[in-house]
Subunit: 352 residues, 2 copies
Amino acid sequence: MTGAKSEPSAKPLLRALAGGRLSRPPWWLMRQAGRYLPEYRALRAQAPDFVEFCLNPALATEATLQPVRRFGMDAAILFADILLVPQALGQKLAFGDDGPLLEPIEEAAGISRLRLKRVASSLEPVCETVRRSRAALPSETALIGFAGSPWTVATYMVEGGGSRDFQRVKGWAYRDPAGFQALIDLLTEATTDYLSAQIAAGAEVVQLFDSWAGVLPEESFERWVIMPTRRITARLRERFPAVPVIGFPRGAGLLYERYALESGVDAVSLDTGVPKGFARERLQPRLAVQGNLDPILLIAGGEALERAVTELRVALGGGPYVFNLGYGVLPQTPPENVATLARLLAEPIDID
Amino acid sequence: MTGAKSEPSAKPLLRALAGGRLSRPPWWLMRQAGRYLPEYRALRAQAPDFVEFCLNPALATEATLQPVRRFGMDAAILFADILLVPQALGQKLAFGDDGPLLEPIEEAAGISRLRLKRVASSLEPVCETVRRSRAALPSETALIGFAGSPWTVATYMVEGGGSRDFQRVKGWAYRDPAGFQALIDLLTEATTDYLSAQIAAGAEVVQLFDSWAGVLPEESFERWVIMPTRRITARLRERFPAVPVIGFPRGAGLLYERYALESGVDAVSLDTGVPKGFARERLQPRLAVQGNLDPILLIAGGEALERAVTELRVALGGGPYVFNLGYGVLPQTPPENVATLARLLAEPIDID
């Protein structure tokens, strides 16, 4: 798949995603813009409503740029939220202290109230953030767009927020797979359109976050994770053959390999539990990998952080590799540990 | 390993765990005693404090027996809680509406206040429950004892309850592995003693629950999950060579195989995400497997439940197999669906 990317690029992230082996890995961090940064907290105070903040291009662009300015990552990721899509489809969304709250979709009747046509106009401010961020970034820094995967977004839409056991959404999918397929199909359309608009506005890479991929048994994983992802990647490839797609099926465990081979992604982001040996032997010969430092190590810092970073670079640096965490930066992370990480990643090391 | 169990047993569970292939799989369900049963809710009302309930042999025995009486599972599992061990070591424990609450262990100073010697006497009521349950069970029904694995119990002890990101416990393990090792060692001792006492009292099988095995990267998984489990299984095998140990490293994903091969367990319990093909090809030739129906299917019922049960039996029934869920029974489960499951499992099916 990566062979299809023909245009050489000076940007390290794009070179790695196209299958290149770099002497130091390009890096960025999931949730690199966020509450661990004092400048982000100050910015957020200007628009305490989180959805408003995401849909304000001036503020969202500044949030996108802050971590790159401070730490010099090889990529910025658009500041937004995966639940902007359900809101754009017409589902009420608010963020409380315990996370997102949505008015849960009530099976078929709930789907009929969603409007695919609203998506483009509702999410135009996000595309404006993409344009402004792209224009402001240094020439060697890539801009990543993103969306939630249909399955993961559907879990929030049906559960009405986060969940422990995914009883409503799985119950629906088990009892009435054809009905649930209609929601997944709608989200597949909306996600394809949304990512296409981000790319048209200037995103050079897109990542699909499937945070709850890991809660499904194999048959359901195939139907609700792999198949919709494959439809999205196929359509993006038709329209934008040079733009790589990174997939992140968090928690997929023993299904990581099927996802990597069958979903059509150009690179796969690894959660903390994916063994480095497996990634090197089974995944890297076929596609680029990204990951997977434990975010807790970025809080712990010190010797443990240093050793783990070296081990990752030694294990994965011999193939196409993007350094990242196994999940998002936690709010308690000391910014100075991220500075240490930047320094560690700039040092050359020996890789056979 | 299973070859070492020489004594033939009439109990279907023990035959399957010893490597036997049965025409219908023996079955039991994690959390088969619990809130989904009206008779359990009535019983719990007699001792609203959950710890008191667990430590009352009359009530805990009745809870242990209730599901077997209603559904005729092939095994009863001792009614108790994995956090009785920290309480027995001297840590304060209470159960609130949002789950367990413990006074968090504060690194080395916290460990020094724990008392291994208290464990045997504090947990004597649990052994009395084992004795009474064993005496009351039908002759073909096996009795399973259990404990939490050191890593999982340690997460609750250090976090002070459940956790989202395991920041405190992982942070400690990363910053001060030697200090954290002392807690794991203490728990390894306590768990070995506790399971030995359960076996001496009449438990015929024991299961180690490692519910949070899946949050660790490989090196940590090896040190905090595999190594302590291996020490426990080795010592139990010395003392009780005929008693099989089932391990449940929930969420271990790509590390399931290492756990199955290296931890010394006789059988491995599979979470919902473990593919049946992997279990059949990579695990069953080496040890018995148990699992892994999605608990949500037991809520959904109907055709989806029936199909999934058949698929599991076809995929895994050709080797040593114990039917179970991929995790515990949820409180919302209709008891009539468990009755349906019992009926389905009693029907013969074709397995090549």
